[in-house]
Symmetry: none
Subunit: 265 residues, 2 copies
DNA sequence: TTTGATCGGTTCATTATTTGAACCATTGGT
DNA sequence: ACCAATGGTTCAAATAATGAACCGATCAAA
């Protein structure tokens, strides 16, 4: 592993629950020598990717990432387009819609849209990391990921978030086969006990999966009629976003209950 | 220069006018060997910091920066950074420094820092609303606001706070032109009779003005030497804060009395 | 269709940087 | 006063970065 990826991987240890990390902690988290970690952090600091807090000596993400994000957004208005697609999806279903992006082996939430219709709704955190085995988005992405990645993910320990979380690799593989057939992933209570969610994967120009769009609703509200509505709207918005981003669904990618031919009409 | 900074500095060559860069171009821009550049870009790509465009083989900023930016934004509230910049500014000038934020058509004070050096000082009220035509902060913000907003503000009744307050729209427009040229706004006795203040606007990632940073001193203490000191320090702290927030000054934004070239040194 | 000048990407011996155990000086808790 | 942390530093040994030269592909002009 090159020095640069090592340095960049340090940044991955920052999270919503862990926004500041001390030198020793960082070295432990990254499994690197303290001196090495120090030098890498110093270089990241020079580049403005991390900075040290005024009071303590801990490190946190620096201002450079904001600048780059602004430039990225100017070049690829993914966020804008995602926001519009999510709004449309949320409006149509009156439930929470969200979009997650695959980065390496991690799936993280990019943005979301709530519906004002219901008092109860599924709420999301910014930049939340989604487990592959426990969320509909994770399953949607995993189903269309390369076999090596599936093996890697499923051979790691699978957290049992709720009593309904699937943790048996063989059972999950069976689910993935179904997702590949229908193009839609579903998760009932796998992440949060009362959440029923559907997800459809998003693809880039090379038909590689880049993330997923999902709708999450309270289990109590999930009637057959709502399920049908969500599936139809989710499918349209997700494939529309894939197209808007210049991506292509892989061959044979068809909506639940439709053949590829019917879908093309 | 370490390998990591070298890699990160590649990212600096992306800009709004140049969102995609080919390998050879990048090597030229960075003054590095093509092979080196390739390896660095590959490592950045592994980390998701750059990606290759679907069609061409050019590189552009990747999705990883979005995730980090979201975390940065959550981790570092504007308030903290403003507080530090204001403290530094107040320490350097031994006068009152304050920062205001534009919210809709209202400019309100976010925070301030006093200097302990002098017995007399300009005092501020929390969340005080600053008039656009009567304060240096207001003029700084207005000078870089959209024309419609300027029209809106100047067509409303303009309160004559003191005998020195400018209330003639045409006269104010003339002042704004000067502020746009120098990047610094000045107000002598416009808000409080004995206060002489300087202000520099702050910008967001889209080069839109979001507020202003200012230094206010009693008129009696305002010597040419202090003016020069304030202008220099204010400029540095304000542009520094803009950068720290991930913002970009608009094109041609230059400090009073300096050319863009001199400022770059 | 030949030529030549690009392009992105690759190779490998030489070189310079990264690495990590041990070591400071400080800090905070007992 | 003590101990166990912390952030930061050192330097010989190990390792990774470097760059000139080299691919094959693409494209424009001749």
């Amino acid at each position: 592993m090159g020095t640069v990826v090592k340095a960049l991987s340090l940044l991955d240890h920052f999270s919503r629950t862990r926004p500041e990390i001390g030198l020793s902690d960082m070295a432990r988290l990254a499994g690197l020598n303290k001196a090495t970690t120090y030098r890498l952090l110093s270089e990241l600091q020079q580049g403005g990717f991390v900075e040290q807090t005024g009071s303590g000596r801990e490190y946190r993400l620096g201002p450079a990432v904001l600048r780059l994000a602004a430039l990225r957004e100017a070049a690829v208005p993914l966020r804008d387009m995602a926001a519009r697609a999510l709004q449309s999806l949320s409006d149509a279903t009156d439930e929470t819609a969200h979009l997650s992006l695959l980065q390496g082996d991690r799936l993280s939430m990019l943005s979301y849209a709530y519906s004002p219709r219901h008092g109860t709704r599924v709420t999301m955190e910014d930049a939340q990391v989604l487990a592959f085995h426990a969320t509909s988005s994770g399953l949607a992405v995993l189903a269309f990921s390369p076999p090596e990645m599936i093996d890697r993910i499923l051979s790691a320990p699978l957290d049992k978030r709720t009593e309904d979380t699937l943790t048996d690799p063989a059972a999950i593989r069976a689910v993935l086969a179904g997702v590949r057939r229908t193009g839609i992933a579903e998760s009932v209570g796998g992440f949060e006990k009362d959440v029923h969610s559907h997800a459809v994967p998003l693809f880039d120009a090379h038909s590689r999966v880049i993330g997923a769009m999902a709708v999450a609703a309270p289990v109590a509200r999930m009637t057959p009629a709502l399920t049908a509505l969500i599936r139809r709207e989710l499918w349209q918005n997700a494939t529309g976003l894939t197209r808007a981003l210049g991506g292509f669904p892989p061959d044979g990618f068809a909506p639940d209950g439709f053949t590829a031919q019917e879908a093309a009409e």
